[in-house]
């Protein structure tokens, strides 16, 4: 790698990983796609520091991350709103900030939402695995999760763009719109219609693999399918009737019926839903 170490991880929080747009073309070998869960937030962070859309960014979970700069860097924090501090000095969220060497950068706990993103001008350089710098947390393909002491190298920064006049992040209602899934015929009569407007709570064991929902059981036929390929956003219904929305690190095949698929545009919403929060389903 040509990059030089510019950042050191002091405290990664419960889970901090590098994520880019994920791996394509390996699902037939059982490799999850991975990639940033909140794609819009990760994309905004990259653009703020003048990065390319393939740059890897840091994805944090709930309690942020603490980094120390080894060299001067320009970075931006987006996604879940949080306090960002250089030493003790607060700086703007969703803005490019140039940080001198030797400064502790604190990305604070998420005030709302779950995942914040840190992009660094020049892009974070780690050797790609199967064409991507994303860490998949199901099979652990890709770079290891960030740990205290992890050193991050960055490439040569391009010009940091003029900051936008105002960064407007569209607030998203906790609503997931559903396409019919390949096994919608496994639903009992009336069960598809019953999904429209149904409210579920986000279960505490939700993660990058799946958003687990807790609420009225979805009534479906008994039995299991032979394993079949599943897509991002697939809504799988195990025999309990409590649905799971497959997120970026989902297994490539599954044996429970996929009765619905979350609209692609709503997957970023899934990335920021906290355990206990309520989400409403809408059928398309």
């Amino acid at each position: 790698m040509s990059g030089r170490v510019t950042l050191e991880v002091l405290d990664p929080g419960p889970l901090a990983t590098l994520q880019d747009r994920g791996r394509r073309g390996w699902a037939h070998l059982g490799v999850p796609r991975a990639g940033a869960l909140d794609r819009a937030a990760a994309g905004l962070a990259r653009r703020l520091v003048g990065g390319t859309e393939d740059d890897a960014v840091v994805e944090t979970t709930m309690s942020g991350i603490v980094l120390r700069t080894r060299r001067a860097v320009t970075l931006a924090v987006t996604g879940a709103p949080c306090e960002v501090r250089l030493g003790r000095r607060p700086v703007a969220h969703a803005a490019a900030v140039t940080v001198p060497a030797g400064v502790v950068v604190t990305v604070g706990p998420a005030i709302t939402g779950v995942r914040s993103y840190v992009a660094v001008a020049g892009g974070i350089e780690v050797p790609p695995v199967l064409g991507s710098r994303s860490t998949d947390t199901l099979a652990w393909v890709g770079p290891p999760r960030l740990a205290p002491g992890t050193e991050l190298a960055t490439g040569v920064p391009g010009a940091v763009p003029e900051p936008p006049a105002a960064v407007v992040v569209r607030p998203r209602a906790p609503v997931l719109r559903l396409h019919r899934g390949p096994r919608a015929d496994w639903l009992e009569d009336g069960a598809w219609g019953a999904l429209d407007g149904a409210a579920y709570a986000v279960a505490p064991d939700s993660d990058r693999i799946g958003l687990r929902l807790d609420g009225p059981p979805i009534r479906r036929r008994d039995g299991e399918l032979p394993s079949e390929g599943v897509v991002l956003g697939a809504v799988q219904v195990p025999p309990s009737g409590q649905p799971v929305v497959f997120l970026a690190d989902h297994p490539t095949t599954g044996g429970y019926p996929v009765v619905a698929v979350v609209a692609d545009d709503d997957l970023d919403v899934c990335a920021q839903l906290r355990p206990g929060e309520e989400v409403t389903l809408r059928v398309l």
Partner: protein, 192 residues
Amino acid sequence: MGPRACLVELEDAVAAASLAAWARAARLPAEEIVPAAATVLFDGVYPASVEAALPRWPAGGEPAAGPLVRVAVTYDGPDLERVAGHWGCSADEVVEQHTSTELVALFTGFAPGFSYLGGLPAHRSVPRLSSPRPRVEAGSVALAGSWCGIYPAASPGGWLVIGTTEAVLWDPARRQPALLAPGTRVRFEAVG
């Protein structure tokens, strides 16, 4: 299943592997082509384009023979006798059947590089363990239903383990990271 994917149903895993191999060779524009037990998932496609291409698939045709990989196995698995019990034969006869049958990797699931190998006769089907082992070592050669599989990495598992191999099933640094990618023919050889 959403505007950009479709699932094609087939009669079995052999047909699914054959369609997937054909679609890959025909360069059907899809981000992912994922064969499974009786389906092929086309992801990142316009479903209409898949529908339009399907009639060109010579259904029922034998899938093109893939490369042959020989896998050396030490038949010392904890479930070898159990398999012999299910088959109503001796452990030696299990080894004889397993080493005399050419298997073929039909699809992957469960973990990167875990291939479902078909070709054992249906009457050699075995049930999974009633409670899975918390840890099955990497390289464990195992049976479930009429499938054979090799664990690429240590994991919990409920397949019946008949032996072990030192072959490296999964290495992302290789050009072909999976030793037994779909289409690969497999011959087991007893060692030790």
